[in-house]
């Protein structure tokens, strides 16, 4: 009897895990969670961690890449975010989550080239082992996480899109990411803590 019970539990586990292989979404962080730090390689060959930024009040962590057309549409706006907020204590940290074997346009070489041609003012890190983006719960590019540095760690304050018009920066009605950082800088609650947007799925390393 016990054996049957164990077997049926095992069967359920197998079925559930079989389904989750097909599912793209990983749960990841919710607003209020403590975000993990990381040590990822930057385009200059150095490793970067959030802990390196001793003066920062928080971070604008953006999972982005070279190849996704949405990410490309937002490149100039990501640069503008860093220019506006790095000096105020909220630097942009860009993380490229795609496996370059699956998406060759997102190799470290291609990332360097892109960063130079666009004049990135922020680190552009490779999530080489693909261990960081699943912890955050990023499942597309671009995907923004705004963190506030506190005594308890870096708290997730905003998850979602940069603004509400990928197509035309001049026609944006709501700047979600800027509104979040402005609120944090002013000591206020973030007005809209999660938003959604279409993006490109993250290209996962093939298992064999």
């Amino acid at each position: 009897m016990k054996l049957i019970k164990t077997l049926s539990i095992l069967a359920i586990v197998v079925v559930v895990s079989a389904f989750s292989v097909n599912s793209k979404a990983s749960p990841g962080y919710e607003v209020g969670d403590v975000a993990t730090d990381f040590k990822l390689e930057n385009i200059d060959g150095k490793k970067v961690s959030l802990a390196d930024y001793t003066e920062a009040k928080g971070f604008i962590v953006i999972f982005t890449c070279n190849t996704c057309p949405y990410a490309v549409q937002y490149e100039d706006r990501i640069i503008a975010l860093d220019k506006k907020y790095a000096s105020k204590g909220y630097p942009v940290i860009a993380i490229q989550p795609n496996d370059p074997n699956v998406q060759p346009g997102d190799s470290m070489e291609a990332m360097k080239a892109r960063a130079v041609s666009k004049g990135f003012t922020f680190p552009y890190l490779m999530d080489e082992d693909q261990k960081i983006y699943p912890q955050y719960g990023a499942n597309k590019t671009p995907h923004v996480y705004i963190l506030e540095k506190t005594n308890k760690g870096n708290i997730v304050k905003y998850i979602g899109a940069i603004d509400d018009n990928y197509k035309d920066a001049s026609a944006v009605n709501v700047k979600y990411a800027e509104n979040a950082v402005d609120a944090l800088l002013a000591g206020n609650e973030v007005p809209e803590t999660t938003t959604r947007a279409i993006g490109c799925s993250i290209k996962v390393k093939k298992s064999n």
């Binding site: 097909n22 599912s23 979404a25 197509k167 035309d168 959604r196 279409i198 799925s201």
Partner: protein, 177 residues
């Protein structure tokens, strides 16, 4: 004659401007068509698309959100085409909702539709206010594609996953019972 010429010139000019201003397009597009030889795109904002997600006739609708730039979407697209062909006689309609970029309608989407001779109904959703319409498609969707909805007037299921033909057909069969 003069008028025809003027119209012709106007057409030429407007075509050109169209191409140049694609990044600066306004977002009040309702329903329009873009024609390239024999392929006509049916382009909607979300208000225009919404009725296709809420039909109350006797059909079963299989609605797939995709784009030519989305590799996993392209991989599973033939399964939807096959499903459409194999179940046409059983009151099933496949609708492929493209999220391609307007500036790539002519260069990517239409060539793709032609090259692969897509037979399913194709709609294009062009609506920048994603944060508003994504949860209206499904509360659990955060915007990564592909996603699929299978529904009829009594039942609806949202799939945040990719499909093989077998899995897709099995899901459809739940609605055919």
């Amino acid at each position: 004659m003069k008028h025809t010429l003027a119209l012709f010139v106007l057409l030429l000019v407007s075509c050109k401007t169209d191409k140049k201003t694609d990044t600066a397009q306004t977002n009040d597009i309702k329903t329009e068509t873009s024609t390239n030889n024999d392929v006509k795109l049916e382009i909607h904002d979300f208000n225009g698309l919404e009725p296709y997600l809420n039909r109350t006739d006797d059909k079963i609708y299989v609605v797939n959100f995709w784009a030519t730039w989305c590799a996993p979407c392209i991989k599973e697209l033939p399964h939807f085409e096959a499903l459409n062909a194999n179940y046409k006689g059983e009151n099933v309609e496949v609708i492929l909702v493209s999220l391609d970029f307007p500036h790539q309608f002519e260069t990517k989407l239409i060539p793709y539709i032609k090259e692969h001779d897509l037979k399913s109904k194709i709609l294009v959703l062009d609506d920048v206010d994603m944060n508003t319409w994504i949860p209206k498609v499904d509360e659990n969707w955060d915007g990564a594609i592909p996603v699929t909805i299978i529904y009829n007037k009594d039942k609806r299921k949202f799939y945040d996953q990719t499909f093989t033909y077998e899995i897709l057909e099995n899901e459809l069969k739940q609605f055919l019972k």
